[in-house]
């Protein structure tokens, strides 16, 4: 057989230290190194098979589940080895060169793009959104498009159902990442911010998690308006008590809150910490409260100054 000798170097940690770097021309007798060697061989085999299938999209989880034994039953091990092998070793991009993407999470609904219809169901944000949404670069962006970002999937579905039945908003997109945002949703929104004439407004729970999610989006979308839900705009009997862990998290944000002070969400955080309460938009099936939340959001969307302009 025509085998060539190769050297495979595997670091024990993710730092850049070259100490303890081992090079072997025979199999190591250490179990962890042998298992990691087998995992790298398995990864190479999977990647070759993946590359032979043209335009196939896969995820790290798909790769992991092909052989959980060799990855020590730990998905982070698979992710780490992929990063070492492809990104740090070969200098390739998992997304661009190998079509390995994180699992899609964010949803989008609206009427602004041709590929979206107000009568259709919301869709997952496409991985290739720049090609999928066939935007015409040469067209001057004079139309204002409003982008509504929601924290909860249930609230998103409720609002989309309402807008599908009542055509009351034009030139809009509604996006949710179902909690903390994934990178694809953030990149999609950043792309919208760059390429379209967008106005971003967000609806988040008035609790420590909702405010943290707002600040996560706010890092990428500084112009996003926090539109609610405010503690004092909901009824006190709907408020929930916060736990000791919530209190500790809130105090920690107050301690390390760079660039968060003296804006409206920070006032909301201090109110929640002062009153020991939180407000959530909890939509329940066949509940009249859903309608009040939807009306609350729709009136805020329609009341956005640049929208009515």
């Amino acid at each position: 057989m025509n085998y060539h000798e190769v050297t495979i170097i595997i670091k024990n940690s993710s730092n850049n230290s070259l100490r303890k770097l081992g090079s072997y021309c025979v199999l190591s007798i250490r179990e962890t190194e042998t298992r990691r060697f087998a995992a790298v061989c398995k990864l190479i085999s999977i990647l070759i098979k993946h590359l032979k299938a043209q335009n196939q999209i896969t995820t790290i989880r798909d790769i992991y589940y092909q052989d959980v034994e060799v990855f020590n039953h730990c998905q982070n091990e698979c992710r780490f080895l992929l990063g070492q092998l492809v990104e740090r070793g070969l200098g390739w991009s998992l997304c661009d060169d190998l079509n390995i993407h994180p699992t899609q999470k964010g949803l989008v609904y609206g009427d602004y793009f041709q590929e979206l219809s107000i009568k259709a169901e919301p869709i997952l944000i496409p991985i290739n959104y720049t090609k999928f949404f066939n935007t015409k670069i040469t067209q001057i962006k004079v139309e204002k498009v409003i982008v509504v970002i929601l924290e909860k999937d249930a609230v998103f579905q409720c609002l989309c159902t309402h807008l599908r039945q009542h055509n009351i908003i034009n030139r809009f997109l509604i996006v949710t990442a179902k909690g903390y945002s994934d990178n694809l949703t953030l990149r999609f929104l950043t792309w919208l911010q760059t390429n379209e004439n967008c106005k971003f407004i967000g609806f988040f729970d008035s609790d420590v998690y909702g405010l943290n999610i707002y600040w996560q989006y706010n890092q990428k979308l500084p112009e996003m308006v926090y539109s609610g839900i405010y503690l004092l705009e909901s009824q006190p009997h709907t408020w929930l008590s916060i736990t000791l862990r919530d209190i500790a998290m809130m105090i920690k944000i107050c301690k390390n809150g760079n660039n968060k002070y003296n804006d409206i969400p920070y006032r909301e955080l201090t109110r929640g910490l002062y009153l020991f309460k939180k407000a959530e938009m909890n939509v329940v099936q066949a509940n009249n409260a859903n309608q009040s939340y939807v009306n609350y959001m729709v009136s805020k969307i329609l009341g956005t100054p640049s929208y009515t302009k």
């Binding site: 000791l244 107050c254 301690k255 201090t270 020991f276």
Partner: protein, 384 residues
């Protein structure tokens, strides 16, 4: 007959964010806000004046201030008068400022020996010994305990030297958060700590012993069997016989009075509903209560809260003496933003002899702060 209160002055947009606490000293009304500033409003001006022309602003902490406690005393065997203020910040620290002889230009920070108060603190309180033997500083901690410190202030060449010394710890409920604190001003040396699970614990802070536990009688509990009747504010009467506890009662607010010596519930304060005689099911406020204040003699109690009302109660008859409603339209400048709500977040009686203007020596005053960022001052009517 009922008492009447007349509005004297008000300050709109006194802070940039919610005003969360108020303290009355002899010279200044001190207001604190989640914008991180404390403001010192002059009490000695004539009744017809613009408060914004006589205010000093002090930046305390960028995370915001949620409570303020004031200590004011002429030092024994000295003529030096010290006013010491403790500001409780949202990041868990307590920051001190003090000035002497009611002179704001002497205001200084307390920076020595305050490592204990840099984090994990929540509500502060001062005890001034009526016998001038030993003063105390008490603060609740975020881990559920309450710490007691000796407060020592000495006069060194017309300068106040203030030191704290850790005295002990009041063991509390480690599975709940101590959100409120009140210190009895008399020689019985008691303090009360309220927890968000509804309990109020009465301690002797010299022997560091728990004396009584006052539990919430609310029938509504949350899923994990914890009452949601937060005792938002506690207050001792000036004679030390009564402890007033303001608790949430679903969306309303109730005030329960306890006998400090015997640990008994001696009644509650409620507004009449339908029948003028029946108080069953009545509440003190239609919203949560955020402020309580006894007057100088202990005959009246002022309360304020989410229903945008201030009520003054007669404690001898348990009846309401006065109700003051507040709104943005009270203020001289009605400019406000969407987050401004006239929730009354603090109330304090101004005792006789403190206010400048008509009737300052004979009529008590009231000061009310609010989420609408306005401060309102009132005085008792009659007698001028």
């Amino acid at each position: 007959m009922g008492k009447q209160y007349i509005s004297t002055v008000s300050a709109s947009q006194a802070h940039k964010s919610d005003i969360l606490g108020v303290a009355i000293t002899n010279k200044f009304t001190v207001s604190v806000s989640s914008d991180g500033y404390a403001k010192f409003w002059d009490n000695k001006q004539d009744e017809v004046h613009s408060p914004k022309e006589f205010v000093q602003s002090v930046f305390i902490d960028k995370s915001g201030i949620h409570a303020v406690a004031a200590y004011e005393n002429v030092l024994p065997s000295s003529t030096l008068k010290v006013t010491l203020l403790a500001f409780a910040c949202f990041n868990g620290s307590i920051i001190f400022r003090y000035y002497i002889n009611d002179d704001f230009s002497t205001i200084e920070s307390l920076t020595d020996d305050i490592k204990s108060f840099e984090s994990n603190c929540w509500t502060p309180g001062f005890y001034r010994d009526p016998e001038s033997k030993q003063d105390y500083f008490i603060t609740t901690k975020t881990n559920g305990t309450t710490e007691v410190h000796l407060l020592n202030i000495v006069d060194e060449n017309e300068k106040a030297v203030i030191t704290f010394e850790k005295f002990g710890q009041l063991k509390g409920n480690s599975s709940s958060f101590p959100n409120s604190l009140a210190i009895c001003p008399t020689e019985n040396k008691k303090c009360a700590v309220g927890y968000i699970n509804g309990d109020v614990l009465l301690y002797d802070f010299v022997s560091l012993k728990l004396i009584y536990t006052f539990r919430s009688s609310d029938l509504v509990t949350s899923r994990n069997s914890q009452s949601t009747s937060i005792p938002r504010v506690l207050a001792f009467s000036p004679g030390g016989t009564l402890l007033a506890v303001a608790r949430d009662n679903q969306a309303a607010g109730s005030i329960t009075l306890y006998d400090v010596e015997h640990g008994e519930n001696v009644g509650s304060l409620a507004t009449p509903s339908h029948s003028a005689k029946s108080v069953v099911g009545g509440f003190a406020h239609q919203g949560w209560i955020l402020g309580l204040s006894f007057d100088e003699e202990g005959k009246h109690l002022a309360s304020c809260g989410f229903d945008k009302c201030i009520r003054v109660w007669n404690l001898e008859t348990s009846e309401r003496e006065a109700t003051i409603s507040i709104s943005i339209s009270d203020l001289d400048d009605t400019t406000h933003n969407d987050q401004d709500e006239s929730v009354a977040s603090g109330v304090a009686f101004i005792k006789k002899g403190v206010r400048g203007g008509s009737g300052g020596d004979s009529n008590e005053g009231l000061c009310v702060v609010s989420f609408d960022r306005g401060i309102r001052w009132y005085r008792e009517a009659g007698g001028i």
